[in-house]
C-alpha cells in the first residue's frame, strides 16, 4: 500500500509539479472572479467565502480524471486488480494521494487567496477550518466518480457532471461554516454536518468505488 502512495506522490511531483498546478488553478479562479463581476471591494468581500469554496471544489474537480485514467490507459489498473492489494485499499490510497496533492495545498493557501478577494480578517480561520474538514470528502467522492467513468473515452466532462451534484452538500455546509463564522453566528451545526459527511464518505464510499472499478475493468 505504501508503495502505491509513494508512487502516486512521486508521479505527481515528476509530472512538472502536481502540487503546484492544482494551486495555480485555484489562484486563477479567484483571479477571474473580479474580472467577471467587477472590482468593487464590498461586493467581493461578500462573495469571497463562497468563491473560495467553489474555487477549491473546481480545482479538485479538474484533477479528478487523472486519479484512475492514466493507470487505466497504460494497463496498470488491470495489473493492480490482479495484484495482492485489495481494491478497496487501492481506491482509498488513490483518494489519499489526491487529497495530499490537491486538497491539502488548497487549504494551506486559501488565506492568501482570501486577501485577493478582500475576505474579512476574521474569515480566514473559518475558511481554512472548513476546507480542512471538507476537502477530504471532495477527494473521496471524486475518487468514486473517477472510478465510475474510468473506461470511458472523454470521461472528463461526464465525470464533472456526475460528481458535481454529489459535491453539493459538502459545498453548502462548507460555505455555510465560513459565512456564519464571519458573521459571528454559531457554526456548530454545519461543522458537525461537514464532519459527518467527511467521515461517512471515508468509511463507506471506498466500497462503492472498488465495486464500480471492478465492473469497469471487466
Amino acid at each position: 500500500m505504501i508503495a502505491l502512495v509513494v508512487r502516486d506522490l512521486r508521479l505527481a511531483m515528476r509530472a512538472g509539479g502536481g502540487f503546484g498546478l492544482g494551486l495555480a488553478f485555484f489562484l486563477i479562479v479567484t483571479v477571474l472572479v473580479p474580472f467577471g463581476v467587477g472590482p468593487e471591494s464590498t461586493l467581493l468581500s461578500k462573495i469571497a467565502p463562497g468563491i473560495l469554496w467553489i474555487g477549491a471544489l473546481l480545482a479538485c474537480l479538474l484533477s479528478l480524471d487523472r486519479i484512475f485514467a492514466l493507470d487505466w490507459e497504460d494497463g496498470s489498473l488491470d495489473l493492480l486488480a490482479t495484484s495482492p492489494l485489495p481494491m478497496e485499499g487501492v481506491v482509498s490510497i488513490k483518494a489519499l494521494a489526491h487529497w495530499v496533492t490537491t486538497g491539502l495545498p488548497l487549504c494551506l493557501s486559501a488565506p492568501l487567496f482570501g486577501v485577493l478577494l478582500h475576505l474579512p480578517d476574521q474569515g480566514h480561520k473559518w475558511v481554512v477550518l472548513s476546507l480542512l474538514i471538507g476537502t477530504p470528502a471532495l477527494s473521496v467522492i471524486g475518487t468514486f466518480g473517477s472510478a465510475l467513468t474510468v473506461g470511458l473515452k472523454r470521461g472528463g466532462l461526464l465525470l464533472s457532471l456526475l460528481v458535481l451534484p454529489l459535491y453539493v452538500p459538502t459545498l453548502i455546509f462548507g460555505a455555510e461554516v465560513a459565512r456564519r463564522g464571519i458573521e459571528g453566528l454559531s457554526t456548530a451545526t454545519p461543522l458537525l454536518m461537514l464532519g459527518g459527511i467527511t467521515f461517512g464518505t471515508i468509511a463507506l464510499l471506498p466500497f462503492a468505488s472498488a465495486l464500480v472499478l471492478r465492473v469497469n475493468l471487466r
Binding site: I2, A3, L4, R7, R10, L11, R14, A15, D71, E73, D74, G75, S76, L77, D78, L79, L80, A81, T82, S83, P84, L85, L217, R218
Partner: protein
C-alpha cells in the same frame, strides 16, 4: 499449482465468443494458445486472470497465483526502469528486482525514464515485471510483440527457468517462441449461435441471448 478450466464459456461485449473449453495446466508446463485473430484469446486470458466473469463453467486455480501480462505494460513514462520494477516488486511483496534486471538485460537501461525506451525495450521491461511478481502461473497475451530475435530468446529462457522452478505459463501468441510447449488451438471452440435464441425462451437471462 494446477490451473483447471472446466466447460468454460466466455463472452465479450455481451456476445459469447468461445464455449466448452476444457484444459489443465500442470506445474512445470507451458501451454500455447493459438487461433486466428478475433477468435477470443484475449478474452479467455482476461477471464482466467479473473478480470471478467465467465458466462458459465469454472476456472480453478489457487487464489493469488496468477500474474497477468497484457498488451499494455502498465509502465509509467516518468518513472525510471528501476522505479517501475521496484513498485511492482513492492506491490507483490517480493523485494528484489535484481533477477528481473538481469533476466531481461535491463541493467544498462536502469536509470532511464520508461517513456524514453523504444518499443522493444518497453516490452522487455513489461516482461521483466513478471519476474518480480513471484507468482507461479503466468498468463501472457502476445508477449513477444516487437521483440527482436535476441530478446525473444531471453524471453524463452525466462519461461524455461520459470517452468524449471515449478511455475507454469499460458501464452497466447501467433508466432513461434522456440519453446517446447503443448499447443491448444481454440479455433474449434468458437461459440455457435444457439438454437434457442430465435425462440426467445429459455430461462431467465437467456432470453437476451
Amino acid at each position: 499449482m494446477t490451473l483447471t478450466v472446466t466447460d468454460l464459456t466466455i463472452s465479450r461485449g455481451g456476445i459469447p465468443v468461445l464455449e466448452g473449453l476444457h484444459f489443465t495446466l500442470e506445474a512445470g508446463r507451458a501451454l500455447v494458445l493459438r487461433g486466428p485473430n478475433g477468435v477470443g484469446k484475449t478474452t479467455l486470458l482476461r477471464t482466467i486472470a479473473g478480470l471478467q466473469p465467465p458466462v458459465s463453467g469454472d476456472v480453478d486455480a489457487p487464489p493469488e497465483s496468477m500474474a497477468y501480462a497484457a498488451h499494455s505494460d502498465g509502465l509509467k513514462a516518468t518513472l525510471s526502469v528501476a522505479e517501475n520494477l521496484a513498485f511492482w516488486a513492492d506491490v507483490f511483496g517480493t523485494k528484489s528486482i535484481e533477477a528481473a534486471l538481469d533476466g531481461f538485460k535491463l541493467r544498462e537501461l536502469m536509470d532511464r525514464p520508461a517513456g524514453g525506451l523504444s518499443a522493444g525495450q518497453k516490452r522487455r521491461l513489461g516482461l521483466a515485471r513478471l519476474l518480480v511478481t513471484g507468482r507461479p502461473i503466468w498468463i501472457l497475451d502476445e508477449p513477444t510483440v516487437s521483440l527482436d530475435v535476441e530478446s525473444v530468446a531471453l524471453f524463452a529462457n525466462a519461461v524455461r527457468a520459470h517452468l524449471a522452478g515449478g511455475g507454469s505459463a499460458l501464452i497466447a501468441t501467433h508466432i513461434d517462441l522456440g519453446l517446447e510447449a503443448d499447443v491448444f488451438d481454440v479455433g474449434p471452440y468458437r461459440a455457435k449461435a444457439t438454437s434457442n435464441h430465435d425462440s426467445f425462451s429459455g430461462d431467465f437471462d437467456e432470453g437476451f441471448l
